[in-house]
Subunit: 111 residues, 2 copies
DNA sequence: GCGTATAGGCAGAAATGCTAGGCGTCTCCC
DNA sequence: GGGAGACGCCTAGCATTTCTGCCTATACGC
């Protein structure tokens, strides 16, 4: 089991997607590539995880979607962050930072 | 919704438990208190999450348990780390660190 | 005798991400 | 013109994990 490529940590997927979308309108396929690229290929985001997540985020009103042509002349569904989504992203990032700190605190506890 | 107390981030519970147990033999109830205490009360670990997790870790051979009296004269199940558990803990910590770094990388990506 | 802290446990639900497929199109190259 | 592979979207079913909510029992102070 070479866990060279790690699955995305549960609970962080939404935040990562929101963050990528916050960088500018982007379609699903490109999101997965972007996440792998930026994370130095650490994360392996499966399409079967991505698309349901996108629909979830859209249903919650954090993302808005519309079809548009890509650079390669194909139709794709572009997502962009809503105002609500931006607030959500900020909240999730803050929560993540506090959590990461708490984990670090425990891990640093000396024997 | 004051999410003052955060639930434990999915996927980190096992690691945190292993880490606490690595500090010395300890029983379940004390583990939950320790985690809350060390994390500056950030984490709220429910007993309904803790005990199933302990059984899981024991079944996998990462923890070993034996009944013993506590300081207050009550019987409690003390857990200690096995050699296998120690290796597992190291692996999980390393994986966590790489993951946290990858998340940070994405979050730091400028607009 | 009673309430609270200590200590362990289970059943059921909810969320989340994965595996494993399917669909159609476009481009490139032989 | 035919095949391969990249692009792009999607669903169904599953496994795992953690939560909520409940139960039991003992020790101790009042």
């Amino acid at each position: 089991m070479a866990d060279d490529k790690a699955a995305i940590l549960k609970g962080t997927l939404d935040m990562l997607i929101l963050k990528i979308v916050a960088l500018g309108p982007i379609h699903g396929y490109a999101i997965s590539q972007r996440i792998q690229q930026i994370s130095n290929r650490h994360f392996q985001l499966q399409q079967g995880s991505l698309y349901p997540a996108l629909h979830r985020l859209e249903n919650r009103g954090w993302l808005a979607a519309h079809w548009r042509a890509t650079g390669t002349g194909r139709e794709a569904k572009f997502y962009k962050l809503t105002a609500k989504g931006r607030r959500r992203l900020e909240a999730e990032v803050e929560s993540w930072e506090r959590t990461a700190e708490a984990v670090a605190l425990i891990l640093r506890t000396a024997e």
